[in-house]
Subunit: 148 residues, 4 copies
């Protein structure tokens, strides 16, 4: 539900992102979610370049994506984004997409990002400053939730 | 495990599919899985055009994707593909990706495809001929499995 | 030169659009130019859907693209866009890309779009209303220029 | 004309590469040409990794692309590829695309690649070994041709 989210990023669907079914090709949703990840952290004052400067990058380890209803060329979609839990080395993000100003769910995703060293791409702990900046924005403590 | 699969499709990673981390961008795996879907059915004698001729298309409704280890430009990867269960209107596909000739898992996906009318994109039942052609290839009955 | 253009559209480079060289993959510039095409016409009051409603679509017939300097992830780029000449069935677009607020040319393109029937994709004449709306915006008559 | 080429690479059009017009999106042709570049050099015994090991990379500086007739999902296309001239720091490639076994031209491109240092992306001379391996394959001396 939109009200679960404090942040959303608006995107307009590009011609290139559609396929012969006349709707957005499924793989492009991962680009939308990835772009929303970037903008979520920009909102929190943390650009990707600041992550790298502090020796932190992330990689997507797992995602579950639901495709609920189609988005089409020239639609403006809202990508609602939040961090739902923080573990030792990882962050769970939730995403929901709606057409701008509508309540029809287009898609949703739950995605596990793992913190890694930018050079080696090896796992590292979630830095304390990152946990802190996220919890401040989300307005609550974000404990690790057990998921399959 | 590779031995769970009767079919795999080989792809070579394209330059365009990498990102600034030097590895395949996560969204491109959905293109790989989609391409393997097409080739799986070609192996069974069913091109996409034959699906349409028979009044059947499918849309991806849900997918869970694991990203286990990176694939890089010019790697040849094997996309192992199978149907694991068939429901009233839907098919579950499993996929596993390995570098050619290796046992290191690059990624895996479990994907729910729903049969739809090609014109309206509305849900339709899995046709009997489709169930039959898949079960014959997989060599077993494919009952619906309850999944979350 | 920026001053040759009355319109530009700002885009932020997405992570997915970079490649292993750490810069925007060349094919993505065609998506940027295509997106700017759409936004140029939106500025003129003509969405793509209005084109279709009036029985007009366009296809790209020829483009020359110069890649002058790299764009990188998270850069905001200005895609300057104009129609430079109008023929019997075609429109020439010019594009120039600059990083936001800078004068360093990132890339440029000169692109020939042909008007087609949306259903058959066969060539049709440039409609008079389209010529008129463009010439009004550009502030001059746009005669056909002979190009190779 | 196909007979101008000693090399071609076959690709099957992917679902993800189509757009709502039901044909291959124009930007994807740059991926096709780029992939053919890679395969051309593989045919000559020069993988991209060998280029890097020898301190050479290339970037696309300019391309002119013609879109002649549509390619559609599941089509197999032949991407004919050759080097047509070699300059001090650059190589001109010609490409022509045909549906497999047909003479209908789908598209063509003429592309200028500049040799660069892989680390700095700064221009470097075309190495003698590269000129030599290409001229041997093409069966003739490849002088620089003046082009606009």
């Amino acid at each position: 539900m939109k009200s679960d989210y404090k942040f959303h990023y608006d995107l307009r669907v590009r011609f290139a992102e559609t396929d012969l079914q006349g709707i957005v090709f499924n793989g492009n949703y991962l680009t939308y979610y990835d772009t929303a990840w970037t903008e979520y952290f920009r909102e929190l004052g943390m650009t990707y370049h600041k992550f790298l400067d502090r020796g932190v990058d992330t990689v997507l380890a797992r995602t579950t994506i639901d495709f609920k209803s189609p988005a089409r060329f020239d639609d403006i979609i809202e990508v609602h984004t939040r961090v739902s839990s923080i573990g030792t080395t990882s962050l769970w993000f939730d995403f929901e997409i709606y057409p701008k100003g509508e309540d029809r769910l287009v898609g949703a995703a739950s995605s596990l990002y793992v913190c890694v060293d930018p050079k080696t791409l090896k796992k590292i702990p979630v830095p304390e400053w990152l946990r802190s900046v996220i919890e401040k924005f989300e307005g609550k403590e974000l404990k690790e939730i057990q998921r399959t």
